[in-house]
Amino acid sequence: MKVLDPTSERAPAARALAPRPDRLDGLTVGLLDISKARGDVFLDRLAGLIGERGVTVRRYAKPTFTKPAPVDLRHEIATQCDVVIEALAD
């Protein structure tokens, strides 16, 4: 029997992870709050701990946790940071 493919026909290409840095020295770390409850509490603590080590920290927030991050925000983080830490869930 011949049938038509109901899917998007995208081969599931395996994507490699971006290389991880060994150290944070001299790097800029972005902290992304997805706007879920108490994500800021977690990120405030992280910012303090990372800041104590002399690492540059930048803060970002999604407008709402229910939707993917806007393209502009993703672009901003990608161009301004070397590493990003995202606070998921509550």
């Binding site: 029997m1 011949k2 038509l4 493919d5 109901p6 899917t7 026909e9 407008p63 709402t64 229910t66």
Partner: protein, 466 residues
């Protein structure tokens, strides 16, 4: 795959015939006399031309100029043939008229095969050959194309038949489907509608549902990804409900009606197969709900005391619409004693307050499916739809002191700053009132929603197109 080029229609008189038709044999000498170009359905090119001309009866006599058909007549009728050919005195010795025979293109034994042969090139999707030893139901399940229930194999002929339900080009893009943000064509929707078990006449409703779901307002990505138990619910209004035989009465939210059961399922299969949204993947629901297989129902407009829901949203009654609502499973509301509208409104308010949590206001919409016996109480008392909604709004203006965190010994609740305020349970327009259900039972049904408004999902109403 069939050739994409159509046979050329010669100018002059053209007659489509088949060998086994007695009327065709009868008019043979007339055609010779007229010098007509004879197209026989007994050879492949002739059969294709007949298919493309949508000939239903043989003989069919056409007058053609510059490759375009100007007029046609079917069977044998001296008067019609003389008028069409512009030649008097045709067929001396023949009866005045004889009916023709059915075209070979309509023979049920070959009609599907011809559609694939002559129209198959319109379908661009990848062909997947299932092996002769494969059970197709098992194979489609193994390929991940199903929601766990069996699906109908989307063969070329079935998909072509499904596409006959719309006038749209199969390659027209209907929507960009999340979560993978894939441009989804009418053809892909049709394939998934076949999988779901739809009939061709349901396709325009499925297309409208896909369009509505893939708007930024409805936010199908978030509805899929959330841990809350919601899925897309499709409410159908307008003439299309009756035209495709939808259920708005007994067991309206349950099983048993093909349109109700398959339209919502087709939408969910589009999100799964085209969008790539699967449970355990982007779908992170803690519990989900049984309606996520697909939940679609029609409003009982005829039995309603009020204007139809879509009319309350600004559409004409004669327009058909689908309303997409991000909702969880339905739950019943029993009030068998209230015969006064005030008492019944209070019952409704008491139950609606519990949507998601009795201490959480304003954050969630709801669909209220009012049953006919409950609706009758308001009809008798002369309450309009607006009257009931207004009274519910008053009854559901909740005192902050009952809602704040800690009140009632419950940590869940609103911020302490709201203690001395009143907070509405539903935002304006956040309660959708729909009339449906069987004629017996003083019951209604509540379908609670998800995070509402721009931060979550908004109900979206769109017109059902062609």
């Amino acid at each position: 795959m069939a050739q994409a080029t159509s046979p050329v229609l010669p100018d002059g008189l053209v007659a489509v015939v088949k060998r086994e038709c007695p009327t065709c044999s009868l008019v043979g000498p007339v055609l010779v006399g007229l010098g007509a170009h004879v197209v026989s359905e007994d050879d492949d090119r002739g059969l294709e031309l007949s298919y493309r001309l949508k000939v239903e009866t043989v003989p069919t006599l056409l007058r053609v100029e510059h490759g375009r058909e100007l007029e046609r007549t079917v069977g044998w009728s001296r008067q019609s043939w003389e008028a069409l050919a512009g030649v008097p005195g045709l067929g001396a010795g023949l009866p005045e008229s004889r009916p023709g025979c059915g075209s070979r293109t309509l023979d049920p034994a070959v009609a599907d095969e011809l559609a694939v042969r002559f129209e198959g090139h319109r379908l661009r999707s990848r062909r997947v050959e299932l092996g002769p030893l494969e059970d197709e139901a098992e194979s489609m399940y193994d390929r991940g194309w199903t929601d766990g229930l069996p699906v109908v194999p989307p063969t070329e002929s079935r998909v072509l038949r499904m596409l006959s339900g719309t006038g749209l080009d199969p390659q027209e893009v209907v929507a960009v489907v999340p979560p993978d943000l894939i441009e989804c064509t009418v053809e892909k929707v049709a394939i998934n509608a076949v999988l779901a078990g739809c009939r061709p006449e349901y396709l325009p409703v499925v297309l409208a549902a896909v369009r509505a779901a893939c708007t930024d307002e409805f936010n199908a990505h978030g509805v899929l990804a959330t841990t809350m138990p919601v899925g897309p619910i499709v409410i159908v209004n307008g003439p299309v409900r009756r035209r495709i035989g939808m259920n708005s009465g007994v067991n309206v939210l349950g099983q048993g009606n093909r349109a109700n059961s398959t339209i919502g399922r087709a939408l969910q299969l589009v999100i799964r197969n085209v969008g790539g949204g699967r449970p355990g993947g982007v779908d992170r629901a803690t519990h989900g709900n049984p309606g996520k297989v697909g939940l679609c129902f029609a409003e009982d407009e005829e039995g309603s005391p009020w204007e139809p829901f879509h009319v309350s949203q600004g559409f004409e009654a004669a327009t058909s619409t689908v309303t997409l609502f991000a909702g969880e499973g339905s739950r019943g509301l029993v009030d068998q004693l209230s015969r006064e509208p005030e008492s019944l409104a209070r019952s409704f308010a008491a139950c609606l307050r519990t949507v998601q949590h009795p201490k959480l206001p304003a954050g969630f919409d709801a669909v209220f499916v009012i049953g006919p016996e409950h609706a009758r109480v308001f009809r008798t008392a002369g309450w309009s739809r607006a009257d009931l909604l207004h009274r519910l709004e008053e009854l559901l203006l909740l005192p902050g002191s009952e809602l704040v965190r800690g009140a009632g010994g419950i940590a869940e609740g609103v911020a302490p700053a709201l203690r001395d305020t009143s907070v509405p349970k539903f935002r304006p327009g956040g309660l959708l009132l729909v009339h449906a259900g069987g004629g017996a039972g003083f019951f209604s049904t509540i379908i609670a929603g998800w995070a509402n408004g721009p931060r979550g999902s908004q109900p979206v109403v769109v017109e059902v197109g062609a």
